[in-house]
Structure formats: C-alpha cells, structure tokens
C-alpha cells in the first residue's frame, strides 16, 4: 500500500518537473522570440493539464503525500512566488511606460510565466535543500 503511494508521489513529482521544464522553455521562447501561435497555445495547454492534475499533490496539500513538511515548504514557496510575480508584473508595466519598451503581449506573457514558474521551482528546491521552513 505504502509502495503504491510512493510510486504515485514519484509520478506526480516527475510530471511536475516535466511541466516546470516545458513552462520555462515556453516562457523563454515567448519572451525571446515573441512566439505566439497555435503550437505555443497547445504547449501552454499541455503545461496547464500537468499543473492542474499534480500541483496540490506536489505541494503536499493532497493525498498521496499530505505531509506537513512538504506542505509547509510548498505553501511558503507559493507565497514567495506569488509576491515576486505581482511585483515583477507591475514593475514590468511601469518600466514599459517609463522607458517606452513597447513589449508585445506574447513577450509580456512569456516573462510572467518565466517569473512565476522559476521562482516557485527555485524557492521550493532551496527550502527543501535547507530543510527548515522558519
């Protein structure tokens, strides 16, 4: 029974890392090459499907993990990531106006996806590595 839970958790983690990688690649492609076509939309859909199915399991907020430490680390990482994303988005807009950057929608979207996903991934990994959530 425990083996099954461990295998499921392993699959959830592997799927989430795959989702993170695809999302980072997608964000980079959109931010650098201003890429916005049907393929980009399908890649986004693919990532959303992965995140929708696995996010709360990955954070330890749902079965099969429901582990207090994973949950604390995951929710902390999401909190910092949320905060960083809000600041990044607002300053991106302020700089866009102040410096006349004229960012396209695809580029803006790519940068926001990159900031969201990378900050979440890096903070989660850092907190897990440090082993302490205070």
């Amino acid at each position: 029974m425990e083996d099954n839970a461990a295998v499921r958790l392993g699959i959830i983690k592997a799927s989430m890392y795959l989702g993170y990688l695809v999302m980072i690649g997608l964000g980079l492609a959109m931010a650098v090459f201003d890429w916005s076509d049907g393929n980009a939309s399908l890649a986004i859909l693919f990532c959303v499907a992965i995140f929708t199915g696995n996010f709360f399991g990955f954070l330890g907020m749902e079965k099969p993990s429901k582990d207090e430490r994973a949950r604390k680390i995951g929710t902390y990482a999401a909190t910092y990531s949320w905060y960083i994303t809000l600041i990044a988005m607002c300053f991106l807009m302020i700089f866009d106006i102040a410096f006349g950057m004229r960012l396209s929608v695809a580029r803006f979207f790519g940068i926001v996806l990159l900031v969201m996903v990378m900050s979440m991934m890096v903070i989660n990994a850092y907190k897990q590595y440090r082993g302490d959530v205070e």
């Binding site: 986004i44 859909l45 929710t75 905060y83 600041i87």
Partner: protein, 140 residues
C-alpha cells in the same frame, strides 16, 4: 500585567494598521486591474496608481499573512500561505487559459488587458481564499 496588556494592545493596533493598509492597497490594485481590463490603456496615470497600490500592499504582505513580526502566529501563517498557494494556482490557470482562448477565439487582448486580468485574479483570489479559510477556521 498592565505593561503586558499595553504591549499586546500596541501589537494589535499595529497589526490592524497593517491590515488596513493591505486592504486599501488591494482595493487600489483591484481598481487598477479593472480599469486596465476595461480600457486596455497604458499611461502614466495607471503606472502611478499601480505604484500607489503596490506601496500600500507590498510592505505589509508577509505580516498580514502571519509570516513576520509583530504577529508571527501559526494559524494566520497557515491560512495565509495556503491562500497564496491557491491564488498562485488560480492565477497560472487563468493566465494560461486567457492566452489559449485569446489565440483560438481571436480575442482582442492587449498587454494592458492581460495585466488587468492578472492583477484582478491575483488580488481577488488571494483575499477571497484568505477570508474563506479564515472563516472556516480549519485549513486541513
């Protein structure tokens, strides 16, 4: 004993002030989001009001969700971080579906409109889940 009560009262007053600032900042940001969404217009006034909303919201965010002094209360922290996790997830889904639907349905979504949708989703989902979890009293 009186000194302790005075300290507790002062802490509560400070926390109330932080909460007030957070709510004002949130309201300004939500109005900004709505304005950007409706008028799809980026100019200096929007940038300045965005900065104003941020300055009310950002300095007290971690105190509001119980991660920093003067509160550092385990229940508030659990509720705040869980609410942020839900909000993060909702924001990612809403942004991605806006991009997907925008492409396939040929919707006219400019950068300002996308930013408006993102800010509205972030602020409303964060505050709503925080209030719901706080009312429910249980975060399991």
């Amino acid at each position: 004993m009186t000194d302790t009560n005075a300290v507790v009262k002062k802490k509560e007053d400070t926390y109330d002030w932080y909460k007030f600032s957070m709510w004002i900042g949130s309201i300004i940001l939500a109005i900004n989001g709505l304005g950007l969404l409706i008028w799809d217009n980026l100019d200096d006034v929007w940038a300045a009001s965005l900065l104003l909303g941020l300055s009310g919201f950002l300095p007290y965010f971690f105190t509001y969700i119980g991660m920093q002094k003067p509160v550092k209360d385990e229940r508030a922290r659990k509720i705040g971080t869980a609410a942020s996790a839900y909000s993060w997830y909702v924001t990612l889904c809403v942004l991605c579906f806006t991009g997907i639907l925008g492409y396939f349905l040929h919707l006219d979504i400019g950068m300002a409109r996308l930013l408006g949708i993102a800010i509205l989703t972030m602020i409303i989902s964060m505050l709503a889940s925080s209030v719901i979890l706080g009312r429910k009293g249980d975060i399991e």
